[in-house]
Amino acid sequence: MRCVDEERGKRGSGEHPGDVSRRRFLRHAGVGAGAVTLAAVGSAEALAASDAGRPDRTVAGYHETAHVRRVYQLSHF
């Protein structure tokens, strides 16, 4: 996925007071530590890059075609 509006307005990063208990919970669950070990494995991009030499494939064989786009239009999606 990508950003479609590079000039997008501000989306603040203020912190709610409840974040303290949230952070404590996340730490106890090992979200920080457990995930750091996964950093060595890679992100979606890195995993996708590791497939770069393989034939093009999609998850479920779905391709957006003109017909599918027309269905979207008619469905008001």
């Binding site: 996925m1 949230r22 996340l26 530590a33 457990g34 995930a35 890679g42 992100s43 999606f77």
Partner: protein
């Protein structure tokens, strides 16, 4: 292409960086089967003894005894199949029984609002579990603008993931013929439950 540590902004550390790592990790493995190099790297990941660390350790053990051909076979069985895979990892399907339904329309509306667009190389409907994990990662990291407030992340999660992801990962856990992806199901379900509880705690 980015390595995950390069994708995390310097100011984003600890648990928030961990959340982004986990979402990205799940997105990658649910979009395509891992390569031999990824599988080998995963097999070397240690168990740090935490709740998630133990699950990552279990996944690492499975990765160590799974070949790239076997994991590709698992992925194909689960998500591709001859006509369809065993699982349909889409929000629309899990919530309505059909693809391309209202949940996808709602997601597209929110994606537009959040300035998220589908990449040119993406051929799946946007409500695929891998795409949703990638979007959560992007919101945390600030890939679509400034890093999203926790309230924005919570609203996105509540609207597009919470209603169905636990059932999806539970279904993945039940895939007896697919030991690697079963463990992804265990890890994913645990992480989603942690996320849901953490959002509640944030108030």
């Amino acid at each position: 292409m980015l390595r995950i540590e390069e994708g995390v902004r310097p100011e984003l550390q600890g648990d928030e960086a961990g959340r982004a790592h986990l979402y990205g990790f799940l997105a990658g493995l649910l979009a395509a089967p891992p390569s031999a190099a990824t599988l080998a790297a995963l097999a070397a990941v240690p168990n740090d003894g935490s709740t998630l660390g133990r699950l990552v350790g279990a996944l690492s053990s499975v990765a160590a005894r799974t070949s790239v051909d076997e994991v590709e076979c698992e992925f194909s069985t689960l998500f591709i199949g001859l006509t369809a895979g065993e699982l349909q990892p889409y929000a629309s399907y899990y919530q309505t029984g059909f693809l391309f339904e209202r949940p996808l329309a709602n997601l597209r509306r929110d994606m537009q609002r959040l300035s998220i667009g589908r990449g040119d190389n993406v051929h799946e409907p946007e409500d695929h579990i891998a795409a949703l994990c990638e979007m959560m990662q992007g919101l945390i990291l600030g890939r679509y603008g400034p890093p999203a407030d926790l309230s924005v992340q919570r609203a996105f999660f509540a609207a597009h993931m919470a209603p169905w992801v636990e059932r999806f990962f539970h279904d993945l856990e039940k895939a007896e013929a697919c030991p690697f992806y079963r463990q992804i199901g265990v890890l994913g379900r645990a992480f989603m439950a942690i996320e849901e509880e953490a959002f509640v705690l944030a108030g």
